[in-house]
Symmetry: C2
């Protein structure tokens, strides 16, 4: 007979066994066999906890604790079941097992609620296998449509629809998987060092920051590193380096909320004794205020143009990703704050620099996301860790919030 977890720590360990990698991490990309095994195991566990389970047609898994009058809309609570390649045990997983544990507890202690309480194990958030992120919450909320999934293929050329069919799901053009949701609540690891550095246990997210990502291509003229005097060079490395150096100075002059990262940098031909012909690099910029984000991006891109012109280099600036900032629900956050105060749990009002499913749900209903500390700020790594005590505190706050909302 299947052995189900008895507490939160056990549940985290148990769920991480589906897709466990040799390095101690977890690889559970969308529609892989370990992904399917995890969803099936969660379904059994939810059933065992007395929840009514069902999948929608793209593989989001729901576990309902029905209201006495079940015609009312649901409060949805959960997170995503997929992971990055060689990710950690907590990212996404914690939000699901905390929700199941909370509903099991609430049912046992208080019986059936006034409104439906529903756990969701969202099929996908990371964008690790297919070049689309938050497809689970995107489809439930109608922010994404059938067309957004069409033609999407992974790096092996497998289409998202074929991968979906391989694990027994299927979406047709006229399927409607949008749901009537009253509120959405997510609990998640912070994936940053703020809570740990400030010695706080619960992060109450005000805003999920807006993001813009750019690809900057700088073209010059490749030449011999020995025979071309400096004054005769059109070296894109010189241009790119001045751009990134200037970007850093500009970031330094902004408020603390602005972050800008150059994470990717390619050189052509990338040979020690050859002046490069082309540099391509990315700039990822984030800020919780849309105007601040827009202003900064306008400013730095025009500065990049200037530097290129000054150095006689060709430049192409492409914006390939853009998400506006999203506000979390103020009323939900006030309740969380009140619960933390009543229970003497330390908390911190903060922004999320990372994207989350909660920002999709915020388009259709009051939504929020709570954080627990990430040790060393580490995530997307086998080293990802949150202490049992912090996990338990997060669960306690979640339970009390759901109790207030649904009973």
């Amino acid at each position: 007979m299947t052995q189900f977890p008895n507490n939160l720590s056990e549940a985290i360990r148990w769920l991480s066994s589906f897709g466990a990698s040799a390095d101690g991490g977890v690889t559970r990309t969308l529609y892989s066999s370990s992904w399917k095994e995890a969803q099936e195991a969660l379904k059994e566990w939810m059933n065992n906890c007395g929840l009514e389970t069902n999948y929608d047609s793209i593989g989001n898994l729901f576990g309902r604790l029905p209201a006495i009058n079940s015609s009312v809309p649901s409060i949805l609570v959960g997170s995503h079941v997929d992971t990055v390649v060689s990710g950690g045990k907590y990212d996404g997983a914690y939000g699901i097992v905390a929700a199941v544990t909370a509903l099991e507890f609430l049912k046992r202690e208080y019986g059936y609620p006034r409104v439906n309480l529903e756990v969701v194990s969202l099929c996908e958030e990371e964008g690790s296998r297919f070049p689309i992120a938050c497809s689970g919450s995107g489809m439930i909320t109608g922010v994404y449509s059938f067309k957004d999934l069409m033609g999407v293929v992974d790096s092996d050329g497998v289409s998202l629809f074929n991968a979906m069919a391989d694990v027994g799901f299927g979406l047709s053009e006229h399927d409607n998987i949008k749901r009537n949701i009253q509120r959405f609540i997510e609990i998640h690891i912070e994936q940053g060092p703020s809570l740990e550095k400030l010695n706080k246990t619960i992060g109450i997210v005000q805003t999920i920051v807006g993001q813009k990502r750019f690809r900057i291509s700088v073209r010059g003229e490749s030449n011999h590193a020995g025979t071309t005097l400096m004054k005769w060079r059109r070296d894109p490395m010189q241009g790119a380096v001045e751009m990134i150096y200037t970007l850093q100075k500009m970031v330094g002059a902004c408020d603390d909320h602005l972050v800008a990262t150059v994470g990717q940098f390619f050189v052509e031909p990338n040979t020690p004794n050859v002046i490069p012909s082309q540099i391509v690099f990315t700039v990822d910029v984030r800020h919780p205020l849309e105007t601040a984000l827009n202003d900064f991006c306008k400013h730095f891109t025009s500065k990049f143009q200037e530097i290129a012109k000054d150095k006689d280099l060709d430049i192409v600036i492409e914006k390939w990703h853009e998400v506006p900032p999203v506000q979390m629900d103020r009323e939900l956050n006030e309740w969380v704050e009140d619960i933390c105060q009543s229970n003497e749990v330390s908390y911190y009002h903060m922004n999320s620099g990372a994207g989350h499913d909660a920002q999709l749900f915020a388009h259709i209903c009051p939504a929020t996301i709570l954080f627990v500390p990430s040790q060393g700020g580490i995530s997307h790594s086998p080293q990802e860790y949150t202490s049992t005590s912090d996990l338990e505190t997060g669960l306690k706050v979640l339970i009390q919030l759901l109790k207030r909302l649904a009973y």
Copy 2:
């Protein structure tokens, strides 16, 4: 019957047919079949021109016009037969065919010389197949020894000695292939834009610049691009960019002869939304004066250390290549200058920013290298080009120099 070239342009075209690539360039790496075909064809051509040919045991090909008293040492004239992958028709090849053409002319016009005149088609200079450059001239001059070639393998894992054996050559530990050489003269394309920009035909090289190449590894801490505030980052990209920006400023404050190039740049993990954990980049620095080169390198490396310390980054600076500047022979250069003046050929005293076989020969005898213009300064490319008129002028100067030296 084999058809041999009748003039310099024909000879360039003919030699470029061995290893011709679809893009109009030439690929003739050491000990490849096209390399062997080229050496064999040159041998036949040399024989046909009345030169006495022989190979040494590593595949350097010699064609001798013997002196009346053949016990005197030789004046060696030539260049290298190997090319980079998808290189041009002129680099190396011009120096060989000009030498053969010159000796054939001298024999026809003036008969046997006072000292041996010997063409050399050096087996290797580019370092394109194996990670060793100038192995042909290095072995003839004794600058390299048997041990330097031991254990050298190409990127397919083929050892240099096996590749050598495959085309019929072989060096054993006690072979002595050093030669008694009176003078070495090379003519070569400039591989830079100076002669063209200054509208001069002959470059008389004073110094082949010294080079140092460094590998700089900067380590920080990889983290989430959204959740890590700027003040909490240890981003090696920020450090590397400030270093290279500072390097450029330092180069700008030096004389025109100093060149510094960052041609290679690697990022770990190289993902747009991840703060890098490590950057590795190269710095190639060249100058004709040893003290200036040493001072500059000392200065910039200590500045890099400072920047790393200031940004709490780990840095490792490795010098992986070092060649001191080498003076070309003043007397030979004075004769060349005199010949140019007598023939109303425009000339320019310059340095070579690229390494050449002549710098190996300079260790054992008076040596020099002459340049003809490279159109657009382009080399190591199918677009490499020098006009027939410039090729012919270079040949004329070479013939007159050899006439003065050997008759």
